[in-house]
C-alpha cells in the first residue's frame, strides 16, 4: 500500500482539513460561545419575505435549482439551500403562509419533501402539509423553468427564494419573479450564474454566504464549526499564495515542487 506519486501533498492537505473540520465541529458542539457572523442583507431579508407573504396572503415560492444532491459540487449548494428551506417551511407553517417549492432533480425533491414536511411537523401543524408544497416538475432544465414560472404567475407569488445550485434557468425564474413584483432572495456559489442572480434579485447571498445563512437559520453548531474550519483553510491557502508568489518571483520553484509532490 502506498500513496500515489504526485498526490502526497494533496493527501496531507485533505487529512489536515478533515482534522480541522472535526476539531472545530467538536469544539463548537461543546462550547456555548456565541458565533459572530457579519451581517448578511439576504439573511435579514428572509424574515421580510415571510412577513410580506403573510400580509398579502400570497404564497412564497422556493426553488433550489437544477443541481442534484448526489453531485459533489452541486450537492453541497443544494443542501445549503435545504437549511434555508427547513427554516422557511417552519415559519410558513407557523404563520399559515402558503409555501410552494418546485424541483428539477428527483433526489433533491425526495429530500426536500421530507425537510418541508418536517418543518410543518415541528410547527405542530402536520395536517397543513400538502403535496403541492413540494412539487417535482421536470428533469429537463427549460421545461422545469417554464413549469416553475407558470406556477409563479398563476399563484401570483409575493416572494421568490432562489437558494441552491442553478444553471441558465435562474435568469428566467428571477426575471419572471421581478415582473410579478415579488421580493427575491437568491444564493449560489456558482460563478456562472451569480451575475444574473445579483442583477435580477433584490438580495443575493454570494458564494459562502449561502452556507453561513444556513448555519444562522438552523442554529446548528456543527455548521458553524465547518465554517470556521473553512476560514482556517482559507488562511492556509492565502499563506501558500503569498509565500508561493514571493518564491516564484525570485525564481525559486520549491513550493511548486511541494505542491506536485
Amino acid at each position: 500500500m502506498s500513496i500515489i506519486a504526485g498526490k502526497i501533498f494533496s493527501f496531507l492537505v485533505l487529512i489536515l482539513l478533515s482534522v480541522m473540520t472535526v476539531v472545530m465541529i467538536r469544539r463548537m458542539q461543546k462550547s456555548d460561545e456565541p458565533v459572530d457572523i457579519r451581517r448578511l442583507a439576504g439573511l435579514d431579508a428572509l424574515e421580510e419575505v415571510v412577513g410580506r407573504a403573510t400580509e398579502t396572503g400570497r404564497p412564497i415560492h422556493y426553488n433550489p435549482g437544477i443541481g442534484s444532491i448526489e453531485s459533489a459540487s452541486t450537492g453541497a449548494r443544494v443542501l445549503g439551500g435545504m437549511e434555508v428551506l427547513g427554516w422557511l417551511s417552519y415559519q410558513c407553517a407557523r404563520y399559515d403562509t402558503r409555501l410552494i417549492s418546485t424541483y428539477s432533480s428527483p433526489s433533491s425533491y425526495a429530500i426536500a419533501r421530507e425537510v418541508v414536511r418536517n418543518g410543518y411537523v415541528q410547527a405542530g401543524k402536520p395536517e397543513n402539509f400538502k403535496e403541492e408544497t413540494a412539487q417535482f416538475l421536470s428533469n429537463n432544465q427549460m421545461a422545469f423553468a417554464m413549469g416553475a414560472i407558470s406556477i409563479m404567475q398563476r399563484e401570483n407569488i409575493a416572494s421568490n427564494v432562489l437558494i441552491g445550485s442553478y444553471g441558465a434557468e435562474c435568469l428566467l425564474l428571477a426575471e419572471a419573479g421581478n415582473t410579478l413584483g415579488a421580493i427575491q432572495i437568491s444564493g449560489d456559489t456558482n460563478a456562472y450564474q451569480l451575475p444574473f442572480l445579483i442583477v435580477t434579485c433584490d438580495y443575493s447571498l454570494i458564494a459562502e454566504e449561502l452556507f453561513a445563512a444556513g448555519a444562522v437559520l438552523s442554529n446548528n453548531r456543527d455548521v458553524y464549526g465547518s465554517l470556521i474550519a473553512q476560514d482556517y483553510g482559507k488562511i492556509i491557502a492565502v499563506a501558500l499564495l503569498v509565500v508561493g508568489t514571493v518564491l516564484v518571483t525570485f525564481g525559486n520553484q520549491a513550493l511548486i515542487q511541494l505542491l506536485s509532490w
Binding site: S71, A72, S73, N140, Q141, Y192
Partner: protein
C-alpha cells in the same frame, strides 16, 4: 414622461432586440471574424495531433443550449475528421443521444469515415461524474455496447483502447461545468482536455487554461465562429455573428440611454432641493 422615455417598457427593449437580430440574418453585414487566442490554442493543438490519434467527445448540454453549442461541435468534429482522428463520442444528457448521432452523421459519416474503425457512437451514459471516474478503470464496463447495441469488444476502434487514460485527448462540450472533467480526467491521469462552453462560463474557466489543467476553452458561438473561420468552413455560428454583434450594441446603447435619463433625473432632483 421623462421617466417613461428613459426607462421604456420591457417590451420595447425586446422588440428592438428582435429587429436588430433579424435584420443581419437577412442582410449579412460581413463583419470580419478574428480568431482569439483561446480558439487558436485549441485549433493548433488539434493540428499538432497525428492522424490516428484518439479523441473522446463528451456532450454535456441539453437541448436548450444546443443552439449555442452545436455549431462548435460540428466545426470541431469536421476538423477532427479531416485530421484523421479516431473518435469516441458519448453524452451524459439523455435527450442528446439522438442529437449526437446526428452530429456524427453530419461530420464523420458525411466524410465517409468507417463506423467502428474511425469513430464510434457510445450514446447516453448515466452517472455523470461517477461514470467518468469509472471510465478511468474501464470504458467497456461503463458502456458495454454502442448506441446500436453492438458489443464494444467486437469493434476495431477498441482494439488498443480499454480505459479513459488510453485515449489521447478529451473534447468536452459542456454547459454545466468543467470541474468534473478536470477532476476525473486531468487531475487523475493528466489527460489533455479541450473545453467548449457557453458564453457565460467562459470567464470562470480562464484559470484552468492558465494553470494548464485545460488546453483551451472555446467560448460560446463566438468561439464556434472563430473555429469555423480557421477550418475555412463557415457555418451557423459565423452567420449569427453579425446578429450577435448588433444585439450587444443595442443593449449597450439602451444602457447608456437609461443612464442619461438617470443623470438628468439626479440633476433635476438637485435643482428642486436647492
Amino acid at each position: 414622461m421623462q421617466n417613461r422615455l428613459f426607462n421604456p417598457d420591457k417590451r420595447i427593449t425586446y422588440l428592438l432586440l428582435l429587429l436588430v437580430m433579424i435584420f443581419p440574418l437577412i442582410n449579412p453585414l460581413g463583419i470580419a471574424i478574428k480568431p482569439s487566442e483561446n480558439t487558436l490554442l485549441a485549433y493548433n493543438y488539434v493540428e499538432g495531433l497525428q492522424p490516428g490519434s484518439t479523441m473522446i467527445l463528451f456532450i454535456d448540454f441539453g437541448m436548450g443550449q444546443s443552439a449555442e453549442l452545436t455549431p462548435q461541435v460540428i466545426a470541431s468534429l469536421k476538423h477532427f475528421s479531416d485530421k484523421g482522428l479516431k473518435l469516441f463520442a458519448a453524452t451524459q444528457v439523455p435527450e442528446m443521444s439522438t442529437a449526437l448521432t446526428g452530429y456524427l452523421a453530419e461530420t464523420y459519416g458525411a466524410a465517409n469515415k468507417e463506423y467502428g474503425v474511425d469513430y464510434v457512437d457510445l450514446g447516453y451514459f448515466a452517472g455523470a461524474e461517477s461514470a467518468i471516474g469509472a471510465m478511468g478503470d474501464s470504458l467497456i464496463d461503463v458502456f458495454k455496447a454502442d448506441v446500436n447495441g453492438t458489443d464494444l469488444t467486437t469493434l476495431p476502434i477498441f482494439k488498443s483502447i480499454t480505459k479513459l487514460p488510453d485515449i489521447n485527448v478529451m473534447f468536452a462540450v459542456t454547459a454545466s461545468g468543467t470541474i468534473p472533467f478536470i477532476r476525473q480526467a486531468n487531475a487523475k491521469f493528466g489527460m489533455p482536455i479541450i473545453f467548449s462552453v457557453n458564453a457565460v462560463m467562459g470567464p470562470a474557466n480562464v484559470p484552468y487554461v492558465q494553470s494548464g489543467q485545460a488546453v483551451s476553452v472555446l467560448v460560446g458561438s463566438t468561439g464556434a465562429a472563430e473555429y469555423e473561420t480557421l477550418i475555412n468552413q463557415p457555418g451557423t455560428a459565423s452567420a449569427a455573428m453579425d446578429a450577435q454583434s448588433l444585439a450587444h450594441l443595442v443593449i449597450i446603447l439602451l444602457i447608456v440611454w437609461g443612464n442619461i435619463g438617470y443623470f438628468l433625473e439626479q440633476r433635476r432632483n438637485k435643482e428642486k432641493n436647492a
